[in-house]
Symmetry: D2
Subunit: 350 residues, 4 copies
């Protein structure tokens, strides 16, 4: 009950701190017989690796996954799958001078209030490093989704106030930001450079889509598919808003405009984002998350130290300028986890 577990039928528990020996995950409920090896995990982890892209930290972690349990002769056995990712480039000394300070925008203050003790090194348990474990778990979830033909992808739709104006999925593969608009991608990169020089940071918006999800997945009332997706996304450190389908835009439409009518070809629109009454419609599931700027910045900010005295802080450690694009893979992984969980639950009704 310390909040580190997610899912019910397909349930994961992550553990580990930024500057401890390792982060990792135990996965329960994975069906037996699925082909698995560390390469599959590595491919997923590489997409969220620090050091990727213009917006990223200079911390270099190979993020090598090690499978400790739950597989036999290259297949899952149905028993808990444990994956360990050792921390190799943790420089705790970089944090010793801020040990007693509450970094603005971080969990330092709230962890202190909650636990009255905290591992201050690199954010400890609150570090984004924990999401490596989620990505490894998401890669295992994807093994369950594969036979259904379910595919998950994500696009950077806004960054630093610059929004995508033309959507070209192919373009996204050609820039480091997974941005489907080449011109916008260039503008975003320039914005990053400018803001980096100012010792500041940026946020943005990511759209995640799952295709191939069969109709009928999701539980009604509290455990709606969209409710679980909202929890999954809002539980990612930097996310401050989650939309499903038309989302915020739906609030300004009339019922006639927003309703997805049907004819024999299927739904005539997808304002619902693939979910009605918490259950999948068979249309693509569309999720948007709004990501706050990285709180660690070089600019000087007012804060308190642990004794409640006023002071200032200016972060010198290695930090990303923007959580995008590394967060994109984390969002995809969380969506994979939710869908896998609900797909397995649905089997009980068959």
């Amino acid at each position: 009950m310390s909040g580190s577990s997610f899912g019910r039928a397909f349930a994961i528990t992550t553990f580990g701190e930024s500057h401890g020996p390792a982060v990792g995950v135990v996965i329960q409920g994975c069906p037996p017989g699925l082909p698995i090896d560390e390469k599959i995990l590595q491919n997923a982890l590489d997409k969220r690796k620090p050091g990727n892209g213009i917006a990223s930290t200079r911390r270099k972690e190979p993020d090598t996954p090690m499978i400790l349990s739950g597989t036999f002769k290259g297949r899952t056995t149905g028993t808990p799958i444990t994956i360990l990712i050792h921390n190799t480039d943790a420089k705790s000394t970089a944090y010793s001078d801020i040990a007693g300070l509450f970094r603005p925008g971080h969990g330092d203050f709230t962890y202190e209030k909650k636990y009255r003790i905290r591992d201050f090194r690199g954010g400890g348990r609150a570090s984004a490093r924990e999401t490596a474990a989620r990505v490894a778990a998401g890669a295992v979830a994807q093994l369950v989704l594969d036979p259904y033909g379910i595919q998950i992808c994500s696009f950077t739709m806004a960054l630093g106030g610059i929004r995508v104006r033309h959507f070209d999925a192919g373009a996204a593969a050609e820039n480091d930001l997974y941005c489907p608009d080449t011109a916008a991608a260039h503008a975003m990169e320039n914005r990053i450079k400018t803001v980096k020089a100012q010792g500041d940071s940026l946020g943005g918006m990511v759209e995640i889509t799952a295709t191939g999800v069969p109709a009928g997945i999701g539980d009604p009332v509290f455990d709606k598919l969209d409710a679980d997706i909202a929890k999954a996304m809002m539980g990612i450190g930097a996310v401050k808003a989650v939309e499903i389908g038309a989302g915020i835009a739906a609030a300004a439409m009339t019922g006639f405009e927003n309703n997805d009518q049907m004819d024999s070809t299927g739904f005539l629109s997808n304002h619902a984002g693939g979910i009605l009454a918490g259950i999948s419609t068979g249309e693509p599931i569309v999720v948007r998350v709004h990501v706050k700027p990285i709180p660690s910045i070089g600019r000087t900010q007012k804060t308190l130290n642990q004794d409640g005295c006023e002071t200032t802080i200016s972060t010198k450690g290695r930090h990303d300028i923007c959580a995008i694009p590394r967060i994109n893979k984390v969002c995809e992984s969380m969506l994979a986890l939710v869908l896998t969980d609900h797909l397995l639950r649905q089997k009980m009704l068959a």
Copy 2:
């Protein structure tokens, strides 16, 4: 595992269909010794009652709560509290002509896909009537919050595309829409009348705030306080987007702009919406939900019947024009449930 339970330490299970004998809720984990009676529940239910306000259905339900268990001599005993709300004005005949149709924007199609059987009368389990049970539970949760001085309120910030421009909490009490801007409220009412005449419906946006929440509440990683709030809100039928604090606006700020700096007076801003790293800061918790328009409309829409044949539908039953303002109380109730759950969890660390 049918999705009808919410919460862990303070856990509720709702049951009942729109046109069955009753809806209700079982509440587990309520501390013993709290003063309770049906009046407290009735007051809460009255705020969500059909028939309230210009945007509401003409269905008249007294929504009289009956406590079946868990209390003794006017106090909670620590055992499950069961509350029953009988359905008295259910006119199933109004639904017989749409029994075999999938109403656009409703869960008819998805329930059929999931269960292959469904109670089509008034949406059955997917009906907004289920939220009466949530409101009753929320009133019990509020009994736990009261000694902490935690108060929850909500305001209608947008409706039918009209947004609040001036915020005056006092004004909200003087219109049926809980809108804190008298001019906006009038515009909203006019918009409702126009759209109603067109046989159409509207959505909007509600902001919910909790004050008095102590710092240190919320679990890290997956069960973050904001993650659980997001799930709670997105699990309300019509909600399509959830924001915490600065929310969507945060994504366009720089880190320096968005970070809430501190001095000896406390936080200098509250872009975080009272939550950092999933744990409360002690500042007001601020949540915004974006509500889609009511899907039941008089205008003719294309749809399919249960045999997959094309047809059209035009809703004739008694329906709200807008989920606001009735949904406001439901949102407040869900926030009360999440906060109570996390407050009780936190006691285990003391």
Copy 3:
């Protein structure tokens, strides 16, 4: 988290006190489409009804079940099934003179210590009356087991120190005690009469068997099928010991004696009681529960009142002499619940 829920995939929550308006149960996870009506529930409830048999209380409860939700046109819909059983013969006045006393062998003292408030009327939530809700839920579980051909029965194997010597399943149907040994049944009945005249009470032992359970059901490690059965049985008020298969006798055997060898006809014995490493073998599942004597007795006993002063107590209310045979149906119901839960879980691996 008040302990009133059981099961995970097929999950029930019971509620209600002995002398409140009703007891009841909410069942989640029941697959849709199963034929159900109140008669099925009534048949099950009749087997546990007060007033049955020589060992029973004179309290006359019709135990009429009312289905409040989760069914439509005589079939389950997949949404929560709520069953209410009203209390009609609760005589609270009978308890007013013992309101401030801790009855030996009852939960009065411990409920007081735990909650500092308690509904003393008839044991409140700790009353065996709560098991009516379990039996109703067990009847629904049996609907899931039926298509598998799984049958559950129970026999009274000991009562008041008298043990069954010859096993004749047919004989059990011919006495009120479900005892498969006519001579033993007579001796038990005489023992009951004698002890009743002395103002005392008796315990005994019940064996419950499930046949038709396919091999491969049950989770390993902590959620072993036998572990969940042990919890289910020990959670019935009067049960003080649970055995699986050879049980206690196994502890005195050698490995060679106890192991169930196999040949092409299957297992050559069933000392395991149908469960190996927590998973079903396909052989009958055999459980034995040892039931303590009813604590409410006419004989005078020493106890304390709520102020901690010494006093004596002699129960005058209407009470059973022995929990057997009414408890037999409760045991069968709990086994049905465990098996249904694990059968549904297993579907996720298919």
Copy 4:
């Protein structure tokens, strides 16, 4: 949902196979600030180590625990505590000749039926090696119990059909079997030698006692303290029966004999075993578990191979003759886990 998690407020998840790289555990819900180091864990693990005593395997595992997360500067932080115990003496080759056989009394057959794939080396996930992780977790639980003065101990009360006749707690410390009767201990040792020479194995009975548990711990109805203890114990591989307090003997007593009367000095007896209506009375909690003989024996037994053909088997690997006394520490650990879980839950009512 693969069954490898236990507990709710203090919740553990174990992982790992007998012949994989490691076994381990993730502990959630441990309060922050408790002093912890690997020595505390090592001391506990040493008591369950293979190679201890006359009845034990010759497999030599140092069972060195490694803390991967959840601590900082020698104290728990409130985040998940992960403990890894590497397997160093796993000889898989010893199992290659029985890879395709179903060993009688083991989970080979049932795992095959459940998962259709299994790690046959040393029992894989079903190996008693998994209990090392439980013991490590139990040592952490004990850190929570310590400030309450709660102590847990266990005694071997029967082995190979030989029962303890005189109870002398001091005597237990002087023999390898933790047997509180020196004469019985000698007889047990002789019985072990004899049976070992015959290529056979033995079972027995262990009594576990917890003192210092305050009154008022445990949830009513399904999550009774004794119900959770029964599940905890029956979930240990070799356990076939569980008794609480007078247990089986209670079934033959009258109510007057079995009831624990009270006077101003407290309870006058403890037939209840420290639990009434599922809640602790403040008296010692007394549990007895009956342990089946080790199923791996040298004697030749009939069985089937994976193709369903008849064959025989005679185990040649390194195996214990009796699960006692190694299982004693596992039982103590499981009791510590249940008590810790319920103590933390109780805090929510305070």
